[in-house]
Amino acid sequence: MKKLISSILVIVMVMVGCSNKESSSSFDPEEIELNIMMSFPQYMDQWETYIDQFEKKMLDEENLNVKVNLEMPSSDQYESVLQARLSGNDAPDLFTLHSNNISTYNKAGHLTDLTNEPFTEKLFENVKKTITHDGKIFVVPIESQAWGVLYNKKIFNELNLTAPETLNELEKITETLKENGYTPFLLAYQEQWVPQLMTALTLGGKVSGEVPDWVERMYAGEGSYEEMRDIFGPIDLIMKNGTDRAMELGSELGAADFANGKAAMFVQGTWASGTIMQTNPDMELGVFPLPINNNKANTLVNLSTSTTLAVHPDSKVKDVALKFANYVLDDKDSSTLFESTRFNPIAAIHDYETDPWVTDAYQYVEEGRSYQDLVLPQAVTEEQGKLLQEYYIGSITKDEFIKRMDEVFAESVK
C-alpha cells in the first residue's frame, strides 16, 4: 500500500514538473488562441484556407501570432455540441447559429453587440434587415439565399412553359407536364425539414402578401392557422402530382433524382444546387416563387439568412475575435471565399459572377417581390415538418393540422 501511494506521488510530481517546465521555457512571442466552431463541415477546406489567410494577415499587419482552432461538428450534432459548450462555460470565441435563433441566444446572454463594427456598413440593405433585432446587429451573416421552387428549364422550354404567377397557372403547368409524360414534382419527404419548406414558402407568401400582421398576432395568441388555410392549395397540388415513395427519399437523393430529370419541379432551396450540379453538370436550373392562390401579390421569393457567425461576450480574446468577424467580409479576400463556397453575395464588396439560378431568384428580389423569412419558434417549424409528413401519408386531416399547429404555437410562446 505504501509503495502504491509513493508511486502515485512520484507520477503526480513528474506531471506537475513537466507542465511547469513547459510554461516557463516558452520564450516565443505569446500565441493567441482563437476557438471557432462552425456548423458546416462540407466547407471545411474553404474555411481552413480562409483561416490560414487570417492568421497570416494578423502576423503581417498586427504582429499578432494568432492560432485558430476550428471545430466543425456534423450539422446534425452541431446544436447539441454548441449548447453543451455554452452551458458548460466553455464557449468558443466565435460560433455559427441560425439567424432564427438570434433572439434566443441573445436573451441567454451569448451574443456580442456588433452594431458598430465596420462590416455592418458593407452589407446589402435587404440582408442587413434579415439579421437586425431590435435595431441591433449581433451576428455576421454568412449564408443568404433567395429561394422558391427549383425547376428544370430544359423541360419547361421544351413544352413552352414559363414560370407561373398564380395557382391556376401552376395547375395548368402541372397538367401539361403530365400530358407529356413528365412527373411534375419531386417529393423527398424522409427528413421532416424538406416537406417543411412548403410551409415556409406558403406561409411566407401568404403572410407577406395578404396578412402582414399574422405572425405578430400568433405571438400574441390572437391568430390562428385557420386564416392560412389557403396554403393547402399548392401543398395538395404538389403532393398529388409528385413522385412516389416520397417518405423514403432523403434530400440528397432527392436532389440527385431531380438532377436526373425524374421530375420537372422540386420545392427546395438553392442550397441544393451543389448536389444537383454535381449529379448533372448540364442541368439548366431555374427558380420561381411558389404561388399560394390567385393573388399575384402572394407570389414572392423567400429571402433569408440562415447561417450567421456570432462573437461570444465572454471571449478572452475578444478583440481578435472581432477582427475575425470583420475579416469574414474583408474587402480583398472575402469574394474568393464566398465564391468558392457558392454562397450568395451579401455585400457590395462581393463582385464575383453568380450562378444562373441565383440570378433568377435575385431578379424577383430586385423587383421587390421578396419577403423576409418568417421567424417562427423553432418548435413550430419542426412540428410543421412532422405534421406535413403525417398529412402526406394520410394519418391526419387539414383540420387536425390547423388545430395542432395552433396548440404548438401557443405552447411555444407561453
Binding site: Q190, R245, L253, E390
Partner: protein, 292 residues
Amino acid sequence: MFSKQKENRILLVYVLPALIVYLLFKLYPAILGFYYSLTDWNGIDQSYEMIGWANFKEIFEDVYFWESIQFTFKYVVVILVVSNVLALLLAVLIESRLKARGLFRTLFYMPNMISMIIGGYMWVFIFTRVIYYLADNWGLAFLDQSWIGDPRYSFVAIIIVSSWGTVGYLMLIYMAALQGVPLQLKEAAVLDGANSWNVFRNVTFPMIQHAFTICIFWSLSSAFQVFDVIYALTGGGPGRATQSVALNIYEEAFKGNIRYGYATAKSTILFVIVFLLTLAQLKMMKRKEQEL
C-alpha cells in the same frame, strides 16, 4: 497466502478506478439530471429557476410522450421475444449441427462490430433501393412496400434491423451457456430413452437458465433506451409514428423548444420505469434459477 485484511485492500485497489469512473461519470450526472428535472433550465441560459414538480405534472398531459412510451413498450416486447428466440435457435443450431461453426459465429456476430447508426443507414439503402430492385426484377411483389415510409411497415423494418444488430451478441451468451452443459447429463438422458427435444426441454434448458437471466436483462434494459436504429432508419417518422422514448427526450432537449429541464424530467421517468422492470425481472428469474 494473503490475510483477509490484505486481500480486502488489494480488492479495493482493483475496484477503485472503476468505482471512481462510475461515481464521476454515471452517478454524479444522474443525480445532476434529477436536480435539473426540477428546474425550468433551457440548456443555454446562465440562470434557471426551481419549479418543483411542474415538469412532471406537465408530462402527464404530454400526449406525444405517452405515445412514445406506448411505442417503446410494443417495441420492447416484440424485440425481446424475437431476438432471444432467434439467438437461442441460432446458438443451438450452430452448437450442435454445423461444422463451420466458427464461420457462422463470426457472421452472426459481425453486426455488433459496427455502430448501429451506420448499420441503420446501410439498411435505409437496402430498404429504399435494393428491396425495390428485387421486387421489380425478381417478381417478389410482396416486397414492394414502403418499408420505412409507411407506419405499418416501418415497425417491422425497425424490428428486423434491431434484431439483426443484437442477435449475434445474445447468441454468444447462449452458446457459452450451452457449452457449459455437461455432456454426460445429455448422454444419460438419451440412454433413458429421451429424444433430442426432450433432452433440450428437460436437460439443456434448465441448465442454461442463467443465460436467460442475463440475456433478457440486457435486452430489456437496452431495448427501452432504443435510439440509434430508429434515428438512422426513420428518424422517428413518418411524423411521429416510430418515436421511441429516447428519441422523444432527445428532440425535447435538442430540437424545437430546447428544454433541458423538461427533457431530464422525462428521462427520470424513463429511468424509473427501466429500473423497476429490470429489478422485477432479475428477482423473478433469479428465484427460478435457485429452484434448480
